[in-house]
Symmetry: C2
Subunit: 203 residues, 2 copies
DNA sequence: GTCGGTTTTGGCAGACTCTGCCACGATAGT
DNA sequence: ACTATCGTGGCAGAGTCTGCCAAAACCGAC
C-alpha cells in the first residue's frame, strides 16, 4: 500500500500500448491526412475505445509529437555553456548544431512526420507554438550576453533567438524535403552564415 | 437581373453588422478572454443567432483578424521595388518599415488586439500561421536577389524572410507592451540592425 | 401599395475534439 | 481465491464549425 515494488508490469504494458497507438496513428495520418482521421478511427484501429485513447494522449496532437526521441536535452543550459566560449549568434548556432546531430540520425522518422504535419493547418500551427515556447526558454539566457544600445537588450535577444530557431526550422525542412541529398548540418551552417555575408550582398 | 445597380444597400448593411460584430467580440474577449467566450455569447450579445455569426465570419478567429485596417499593401510588389535599390536584407527592412508606419498610427487598436491574442494559446498559433503565409508570398521574390553558394539560394531566401518577419514581430510586441514609450520604427530599426553588429559581439 | 423573386436569417441535426462522471471488468498482491 | 486497486468503456456535455431547409426580410418593378 505504501509503495509499488518496482516498475510494475502494468506500466510496461501501458508503454507498449502507447507506442502501438502512436504507430497506428502515424500510419493512418499518412494514408488519409491528419484532419481526415478522427480519433475514433485510431481507437478502433487499435482495438480500444476513444475514451481510452484520451487517457494515453491528452490531445490528438500528442500522439504525433508526444513520443519524439528525447531531443529533450536541456537547451538553455547548453546555450549557457556555449556562451562562455562564443558570441550570442555563434553560441545559438552551436547549440542547435547539437540538436541537428541527434535529428540527423533519424532521417526516415522525421521526414514521415514532416510530411504529415504539412497535411494540416492545425498541425503546423501547433508546431509553431512549440517553437515559441522553446524560444521563451532560451531568451533569458541570452539577454545578459547581448551588447548594444541602452535598453534594447531584451529586443535584440528575442530577435536573435527567434532568428536562430528560424534558421533551424528552415534548414530542417530543406533537408527533409531532399531526403538524403544533403546533410542536415551543412544546411544548418549555411542558414546560420547567411547573416555573416549580409554586407557583401547589400547594395 | 443582369447586374445589380451599383453598391447595393444590403451590402452596406452587411458591412455595418460585420463591423459591429467585430467590436462586440473584441469587447467580450477583453473582458473574459478569448477561450472563455463562446460564439453563442457573441451572437446573443449582438442580437443574432450563432448560425448567422458563421455567415459573417468563417471562424471565430476571423472576427479578430479579419477586419484589420488595410495592411493589405501588396508586400511582394513593394519588396520587389526596394530590391532595385538595396540588398535583400535592407530591402526587407524597408518593406516592413512601410508596414510599421501604417501600424504606428493605430497604437490603441493594436495593443488591444495583442492583449487579447496573449490570452489564448490557440490564438497565438493562428497568428503565427498567418505570418507563415506572408513569408511564403515573399520568398519567391527574394530568391533571385540572394547570392551565395551554389544551390542554396532557396534556403537563404527563406531564412532571410522568416528572420525579417521575426524582427517585425518582435519589435511590434516590444512596442505594444510599452505603450507610447518608444517608437515602432525605432524598435524595428534596432531589430534589423542586430545582425549588422554580429561580428563585434562574436568572441 | 402590392406582387414576385432574391437574399438573409434561424433552427435543426450532425461531425469532431476533448472532459467529467460512474459502473464494470481485469489485474496484482496477499 | 479474495480483495483492493487500476484500467476501461459508455454516457453526457461543452464548444467549434457545416449542411440543409423553411421562414422572414428585403429590393425592385408594376
Amino acid at each position: 500500500m505504501d509503495e509499488s515494488p518496482a516498475i510494475g508490469i502494468r506500466e510496461r504494458a501501458r508503454g507498449a500500448l502507447r507506442g502501438e497507438l502512436a504507430d497506428v496513428a502515424l500510419r493512418l495520418f499518412e494514408e488519409r491526412g491528419y484532419d481526415q482521421t478522427p480519433v475514433d478511427d485510431i481507437a478502433s484501429a487499435a482495438g480500444i475505445s476513444p475514451r481510452t485513447f484520451y487517457r494515453y494522449f491528452g490531445t490528438k496532437e500528442e500522439v504525433l509529437f508526444g513520443d519524439l526521441p528525447p531531443t529533450s536535452v536541456d537547451l538553455p543550459a547548453l546555450l549557457e555553456d556555449h556562451l562562455l566560449r562564443a558570441g550570442p549568434w555563434e553560441a545559438l548556432h552551436q547549440t542547435l548544431r547539437h540538436v541537428a546531430e541527434n535529428i540527423g540520425t533519424q532521417r526516415g522518422r522525421w521526414s514521415r512526420l514532416l510530411r504529415v504535419v504539412n497535411t494540416s493547418d492545425t498541425l503546423r500551427a501547433g508546431h509553431l507554438e512549440q517553437q515559441m515556447n522553446l524560444a521563451q526558454s532560451l531568451i533569458p539566457t541570452l539577454v545578459p550576453a547581448v551588447e548594444g544600445p541602452a535598453g534594447w537588450s531584451d529586443l535584440r535577444a528575442r530577435v536573435l533567438v527567434h532568428a536562430a530557431l528560424t534558421c533551424f526550422d528552415t534548414a530542417f525542412s530543406h533537408w527533409a524535403e531532399r531526403d538524403g541529398d544533403i546533410e542536415m548540418l551543412e544546411a544548418l551552417d549555411i542558414a546560420f552564415t547567411t547573416f555573416s555575408t549580409l554586407d557583401s550582398v547589400q547594395a
